[in-house]
Amino acid sequence: MQTPSPGAQILLVGNPNVGKSTLFNALCNKSQKTGNYAGVTVASHSGRYLFNGKEVEIIDLPGSYSIYPDSQDEAIFTKYLLDQAHEYSGVVYVLDALNLKRGLLLFQQIQDLGIPTLLVINQIDEARRRGLTIDTEALSKLLGVEILLTNAKDREGIEAIKKAIDEGKFSQHSGITFAIPLEQKALVERIASQTKENNHYKVWTLLSSETYLGRLEALEEKLNDQESKCAVPKRLQTQETVRRYQHIAQILDKITTKTPGRKELLTEKIDSILVHKFWGYVVFLAVLLLMFQLVFFMAEIPMNWIDGLFVSLSEFISANMAEGPLRSLLAEGIVPGIGGIVIFAPQIGILLYLLYLLEDSGYMARVVFLMDRMLRPFGIGGKSIVPLISGVACAIPAIMGTRNIENTKERLITILVTPFMTCAARLPVYTIIIALIIPQDYILGIDQRALALMVMYLLGFVTAMASAFLLKKSIKQNVKTYLILDLPPYKMPQFLYDLRIVLEKVWDFISGAGKVIFAVSIILWVLSYLGPSKDSSQWVDTEVHLDDSYLAQMGKFIEPAVAPLGYDWKMGVSVLSSFAAREVFVGTMATLYSLDEDVEEGRIIDKMRSDTREDGTKVFSFATGISVLIYYAFAMQCISTIAVVYRETRSWRWTLLQLIGMSGLAYIAAMLAYQLLK
């Protein structure tokens, strides 16, 4: 028995879809994400709560079916469980009352590893309603573990869990329930005495695991030929799983009353449409369309508020501050720059929220089922569809979401092509450019601009698929691929919880992009406020005309590189400054145009529209606009994505190849488009 000290760390473990995150949410009032970029092993949430004056930290590990990892996700799980054993004081294992059998497999493995455990059976009400009774007292005795019952959804039994954790009701076993097969018994005992490891199951896992658990190099040498033949890891795993299931079946026979097979009636009914050969796809398309529709229509009103707010803030500063460099920096640099990005928060938030709700409801698993066959010719599988769709919000969580793809080649391809999907950061660029070059008109009752935007989304998707196909052909690696996916019963999404996560993410986006734009605005403003002096007695002139500033000089220096794409120096500066993040393009444009006294006051977009080149033609001609759109559709202008690709692939080669491939394609395609259209 162990008692958690103040600040004790508890792991939340279980199969996927057993209500772990619901329980986590019910336990922790202060939710807190572990850093996305810290390179830590935990991909999940960590949260805290206070009980009895002590703070307890809960870590929600990714769901897994066994301690033998098949995917990156499961590898993270196993690694944390074993390597961080000194960090946490116990495991709260969540078992779904409706599927005890599958859950007990992993539970007993964990127990056999000598890890202190506490068992929580979730959905107990649902089980009772279905006529399934569980003799928990007998189960507790048979397993040798404290059992608590909950309905995490209704927050029932939560206090009891906190109390049990506080009282240290974790039990740790010295013996193991798994009977090591006779053929390996002598071998296990020999290694155990050589390595001085008392836990025979730990020794067994050294023999039976292929990857992480530590198939020891040294071990191979210790085994003679005869022994190595017996110890084929895969065969041992199979033996273990089968034996454990036999044992579990015996336990369950004693403690559950057999019920005539229940039916997931609601799920049955819903699935008869949602995975239908024809209607399933119709519904999927409709869901996607509805999602985009909602993103644009629902976001319009808050976007107008934000726009108005920042314009009046700028005006307020202009009207109330004394004329001078500071006023110009605030009113013409920082405020329009930040405003240019905050305005997109509603769209990003709505998109993310809808995606979370779909995921939460269980629908995404059905999409995997529907799309698997369609995606396989492109070298990816059904599981890639989730990253591809979430790539429409942001490539970073999408790329991290590839961890549950077991096949390394499929995973690599998915990581490499996901950034082609039209992420939310491209939206600001697209929206502004489309508004500049496409007149507001209707084709067959459909807004032309909306249509243009849809074309951009399609372009991203088609490019992603085409590159996936090319990669499939060029990556020489043939790993056996498989799809075995749990299709959980549908459930009502956790609207509030998802909303909270979305708000956090949107805030991350705004503050992250905000910081960059803030810095960029100041640099831009300084460079545009100062210019080389015409008077030889001074080095620099202040309050120069924008076209005479250092910024213009720098812009004109890079102009030859961007001129073939149809960009002037302002756009060149904007493209360059948005190398770190696409949305900065709009912020930079906003700053540059507010600084330019030649153009009339008014909304920035009007200033951009009326801006002309030296020869009197419009800066934002149709050809230039298309060139910008194509450039941003393809170019890898996002430093965070580059970082996350490197972290997930652990390969500079692929990271650089992706960067060069995407940006090279962008430059060439944009140039071709401009030259053909001008």
Binding site: D70, K234, T238, K263, T267, D271, V368, G382, L483, I484
Partner: protein, 84 residues
């Protein structure tokens, strides 16, 4: 002692009750996950749906009525027979 004709899950008809009999896994290439998910010999199952163009199978199995999707390639590892 083959009393009933067994076939592979990949060839089993839709919406018919069946029983997992054994695995067809001489090269040990079958993903262990099949076993981990509890699709063991003796488990009753039914194939509810299949995605078009020989896409994945949507099967329901065991007393728990667990539902999973698996590809035809994986289904080829699983020997089954019909329940009469």
């Amino acid at each position: 002692m083959e009393s009933r004709p067994s076939t592979l899950l990949s060839r089993f008809p839709l919406r018919c009750a069946g029983l997992v009999v054994d695995y067809e896994n001489p090269e040990l290439t079958m993903p262990n996950k099949i076993i981990e998910m509890g699709l063991l010999p003796g488990t009753p199952f039914i194939i509810l749906y299949q995605a078009p163009f020989r896409g994945p199978l949507y099967i329901e199995y065991g007393q728990e009525r667990t539902r999973i999707a698996l590809r035809v390639e994986e289904a080829e590892f699983i020997k089954v027979e019909a329940i009469r």
